[in-house]
């Protein structure tokens, strides 16, 4: 099915004919790339395969079969701490909303991927560095709660600098809040795939990013808990280049697989399929009751 017009328009890099003549420099190999070419190549540098960070709606457009129904998109944060540094927090938010065309750092909703209905969350580094404040936490929580109610598998793309300073401890507590919803979703038999994209660090990596049944990472994404600079300051030496890359984590056993962006949709479709045999119980509380008299998965032949 074709992409609906509204979804195409919400892409952050629409190929506007008037702006078509723009060129972008690859931050890795410095090649100059014609933006429409870059978009057509899934924001992967044709020269060095560098994966550009993607805008949430670009990502969604590439993944979903057709429509995408957003939830929680209307939620925007207040200013619980009355925060000001260089500029007041509400002003920062306003600026990011304009710049990114997003209302917050994650877009959540429902769609189907390869014919499989899913709950889908996509974080966006363009909005406050993908930091998690109350709204990111709330949307992720809503996503897992809805996925649980609708018995849908859940996919979350992470990209985050961690918890959002400007919302203080309320931001940190979103780690606990999202965890509770992920756990309840899982205990109800839910199937959760996280896809760690560049960069996934701090409070997001230390909560829902690493609570998935299957943890996928996009090729060469930076993934870790502490920031690279913090570690270098602590140990007073330069870190090797591959430190905290997806490939490094794969070797260290922390993630299930590393996937190139061009392979990602196909891989996710296959991964979703493995979960289709899971018969989620009517009673959402217990996927695996202590006395289980249901037949073993006889119906899992595709």
């Amino acid at each position: 099915m074709a992409m609906p017009e509204w979804l195409r328009l919400r892409r952050a890099n629409p190929i506007d004919p008037d702006q078509a003549a723009q060129w972008t420099k690859c931050p890795k190999c410095a090649a100059m790339i014609y933006r429409p070419d870059l978009a057509a190549n899934l924001w992967v540098c044709p020269t060095c395969q560098h994966h550009f960070r993607m805008h949430a709606f670009d990502r969604i457009s590439l993944l979903v079969d057709s429509d995408f129904t957003e939830i929680g998109g209307e939620l925007i944060p207040g200013d619980p701490l009355g925060w000001t540094d260089k500029v007041p927090y509400p002003q920062k938010l306003q600026r990011d909303r304009e710049k990114s065309k997003l209302t917050e750092g994650v877009v959540c909703g429902f769609a189907s991927i390869g014919g499989c209905p899913v709950a889908l969350g996509v974080m966006d580094f363009n909005f406050r560095g993908g930091t998690m404040g109350t709204v990111v936490g709330e949307r992720i929580a809503l996503l897992f709660e809805s996925a649980r109610e609708r018995k849908l598998p859940c996919i979350v793309f992470t990209a985050s600098g961690g918890a959002r300073m400007e919302e203080g401890m309320l931001a940190l507590m979103q780690m606990a809040k999202t965890t509770l919803t992920v756990r309840r979703f899982h205990d109800a038999g839910g199937y959760y795939i996280s896809v760690l994209t560049d960069p996934t660090t701090g409070g997001v990596s230390a909560s829902f990013a690493f609570q998935a049944d299957v943890v996928v990472a996009e090729a060469r994404a930076a993934i870790g808990f502490a920031g690279r600079r913090v570690i270098e300051q602590t140990i007073r030496q330069k870190l090797p280049d591959n430190f905290q890359t997806a490939e490094f984590l794969l070797e260290k056993g922390a993630i299930d697989m590393v996937v190139e962006r061009h392979e990602l949709k196909g891989r996710l479709v296959r991964l979703l399929d493995y979960g289709l045999g899971a018969q989620r119980p009517a009673n959402g509380l217990a996927a695996q009751p202590a006395t289980d008299t249901r037949p073993a998965p006889a119906e899992s032949r595709s």
């Binding site: 701490l81 507590m173 509770l180 990596s205 602590t234 430190f243």
Partner: protein
């Protein structure tokens, strides 16, 4: 330089003078009552002046005071404590001390972060910054506690999880994520107390609890003030300013509904009466458990869910 330690210096001198005068008065037949009373009044006045309204930055320094009771001090005050070691896979992390204990006769699993007191112990305990295997030890023991149907009590005091190479290599993020994941559904009561510094995810990993207590001058923040200042302004020296903005005091957190109860400290801070402070904390933990153990397990977990589920929701438009 700890600003509280600095401020205490004048007080300590005064204390010494009062003690000397008292000793003189006892030995000589001169009446120095008035003089002593005068000094004591002055002492009390200064004490109120400098500790009556502490700034967030002063709280941070109080929370890091070198004489402040540490996690191990709380464990030592339990009726009995049998330490359980290790994650069964890689290493015993000394930044987290944990084991079976009895609190006023009640069986508990007690888990404490400990920064270490002297230099050697500080190094051994990695200054209270747990590595992944520390959190994995916690997970194992939380499961054990549930199996034996005993409550879990945690004492939080860390500047944050260890940011070293090894910890990243062994998936620090995963360890904290799984610690939260384990506590989220633990089949028994959990009471967490922030006793000193509650730094970031490394603290929260022990803080997903049915009841969260906090000592009056403890702090609990999304990042250390130095870290936040570095992130926000590229200048760790602006930590004092960050401390103010971050709303990390017990009053703030009580108001946000993140902390359920604040346990008062003596004037001058917990270390001015370490034994009394530890006892008050343990009594508060015990009171919380008295209530929590009455609640059926499923109801308990439902309440835990709702407790954290609503945090921050009120600040969203």
């Amino acid at each position: 330089m700890n600003v509280i330690v600095e401020r205490e210096k004048g007080l300590l001198e005064l204390e010494q003078r009062i003690a000397e005068l008292k000793s003189q008065a006892a030995q000589q037949p001169v009446d120095m009552t008035a003089e002593i009373e005068g000094l004591e009044a002055k002492y009390a006045q200064i004490q109120r002046d400098i500790f009556g309204q502490m700034s967030p930055w002063q709280r941070v320094n109080m929370a890091r005071h070198p004489k402040r009771p540490l996690g191990s001090d709380y464990l030592a005050a339990l009726d009995v404590f049998d330490e359980l070691h290790g994650d069964r896979h890689f290493r015993d992390d000394h930044a987290i001390v944990a084991g079976f204990a009895k609190l006023k006769g009640r069986r508990v699993m007690a888990i404490a972060q400990d920064k270490g007191r002297d230099t050697k112990e500080k190094v051994r305990r990695n200054f209270g910054m747990p590595a992944p295997e520390g959190y994995r030890k916690v997970n194992r023991l939380v499961r054990l506690a549930a199996h034996l149907r005993i409550p879990v009590i945690t004492f939080i005091d860390t500047s944050g999880a260890d940011p070293g190479i090894g910890s990243e290599e062994r998936a620090q993020a995963e360890a904290i994520a799984q610690s939260l994941y384990e506590l989220a559904d633990a089949r028994g009561p959990i009471v967490a107390t922030i006793i000193g510094e509650g730094g970031s995810g490394g603290a929260l990993a022990l803080g997903l609890a049915d009841r969260v207590l906090m000592l009056e001058h403890a702090v609990y923040s999304v990042a250390s003030p130095e870290g936040a200042a570095a992130i926000l302004w590229g200048d760790a020296a602006r930590a004092e300013e960050a401390a103010t903005r971050l709303k990390l005091t017990s009053d703030d957190l009580l108001q946000f509904g993140i902390v359920d109860e604040v346990i008062p400290e003596p004037i001058g801070g917990a270390h001015r009466d370490a034994v009394g402070t530890v006892a008050r904390v343990l009594a508060a933990v015990d009171r919380a458990l008295d209530e929590l153990v009455q609640i059926p397990v499923d109801e308990l977990r439902d309440r835990r869910y709702r407790k954290f589920r609503r945090i921050g929701s009120g600040t969203i438009s």
